[in-house]
Symmetry: C2
Subunit: 334 residues, 2 copies
Amino acid sequence: MSVSLPPTSRDVARIAGVSQTTVSYVLTGKGSISPATREHVLQVAESIGYRPNLAARSMRTRRSGRLAAITGVAIDNQMRMLNGAAHVANEAGYVMETHSFDGTVEDRTERVLELTAGGQYEGILTFVPVLSAALSNGPGTPPVLAATAFDDKMHSLGELADASLLEVFISALVAAGHRRFAHVAGPQDYASGRARAETYLACVERLGVESLGVLGGEWTAEAGRQAVLALPDDAPPVAVIAGNDILAVGVFRGAAERGWSIPDDLVVTGWDNAEFGAYTTPSLTTVDVDFEAAGRHAMHLLVAALRGEEPPPRASALQRIVWRESTGRAEPPR
Amino acid sequence: MSVSLPPTSRDVARIAGVSQTTVSYVLTGKGSISPATREHVLQVAESIGYRPNLAARSMRTRRSGRLAAITGVAIDNQMRMLNGAAHVANEAGYVMETHSFDGTVEDRTERVLELTAGGQYEGILTFVPVLSAALSNGPGTPPVLAATAFDDKMHSLGELADASLLEVFISALVAAGHRRFAHVAGPQDYASGRARAETYLACVERLGVESLGVLGGEWTAEAGRQAVLALPDDAPPVAVIAGNDILAVGVFRGAAERGWSIPDDLVVTGWDNAEFGAYTTPSLTTVDVDFEAAGRHAMHLLVAALRGEEPPPRASALQRIVWRESTGRAEPPR
DNA sequence: CTGAAAGCGCTTACAG
DNA sequence: CTGAAAGCGCTTACAG
């Protein structure tokens, strides 16, 4: 009992009674083939379920039509960035494949180098930090672009670490009468977490309002809850600037446990515009981050590099404040 | 100015003064090569930065060492499954690549078919629904396994679609005195969404309690909110079985908008144990799903199929009810 | 408009 | 222990 292999273009040619060349011309749309022959070949190909072997095509054309995206361990928002990037890749006629590389930065760098040399990809976009060794493109190797918000020294796109909207939060809350603040921060080895904490500190300093300090330190709801539980009894009224929405949910819970109401005793802001934030009671004021646009922009940069075109201008307005109930009467500045 | 191409095994052979065969034997560890030659070849390969062209190797060996994982846009928790799957794939000596396929189920099916015929993958694991056409493996094509099947008659893994804990929810709530139920369902082309809806219907029927029907139809908070807004004014007290946690959050919001309290007017259950659910007020009773284990198990099945081994036993206890405040006095059955 | 032939970079019997 | 040669499935000058 022989296992039959998938049909090849040679099979199509034989059955259609034409040469392999003709089959290739029909399928790639090159050369000039008579409509009759063309139709016949397509029909035969269809009937035997022929599909081109991409490895063979790739080897011959030195064009794989494939781009690689590199991610690390689960960050939910990466999924959205990846989808944006994949969309742009497809529009440009490429297939994007995602690899998840763990381990040290050296491990990841080595794996990216393997990828560049493997001849399978025409370009590589990494969303996790790698050493610059992986980014310095040798001749004949595909371009490697890093779109990571996590390491400022890399060729980072940076948009995602921009914390300037945090100043808008604080200014608007001060305008609404708030004089006491606290920050529930994310981890400080994340560029975004650090930028928000630094912006918070600079801002309360500049505006001369009271700060109960920088609490938290993880992207978890429990850290948000603990931060509120650690606040002094006479803390309210206080404006809590949370590093992201999941921290904010923890703040909500901590407030409920202490009998503090939002937005009367505490006002709360989040970051990321997670879906649940629009449906809590009260709903959560936050920053909508267009992760998909960030992913699209990163891939646009790679495609432009591939085509030798000018890189597209920096994407504008990836972030936007969404005012909701958790900040009470605070209004957007006019 | 000529662009130099990446070095090939032929370049290594020429520089090392040996044949291409010898280079191949050294690199693949096959054949028998003297230590001296071996050392020399490795050194030359290293010095010129040689890395094998995987497309060429793959074409020759008909083994790519690559497995594909298919995901879509809309699934939370995917990252966790993917990481589990990737881990098992790596342990088994494979590289796992993730593709995100959007569009209709027909679009996705077509793209999976292209992948099977493309000759690049030895196996495919899909976490999004595809038509059975993609799952029926032709001779010589790689196995395609669906971790969430469109049709249960296919090779569905089933664990994630197991809705039997929903019966426990309903039984426990009936035991606590509830007599009126409603289901806020996920999309019915997901095996998990459909299984939960079917189990719900069978269960209310069997227990002879009142059902206000199956509402919802998407994995979104807004669908949960709308479902509650569509309930009749005299609905409470009612037990709402939500298809997942994000639907449940929408139910929470809808209840707040109607002035219904949880758990007094409505009791609510979710599914997935999303992080935020432990921190809402009241906290959300839900089902903890071990997505990483599910991903591992799915990949184990694929690897077993690849090796012609017996499939590993069904993973045990991927799901576990987490009783919290949103179900009031309802208690786990003893 | 169509076909014969070469070659992309590998691996692997086979021969020595 | 090592090499010459064939071939994986394609595409593409080149010739007709």
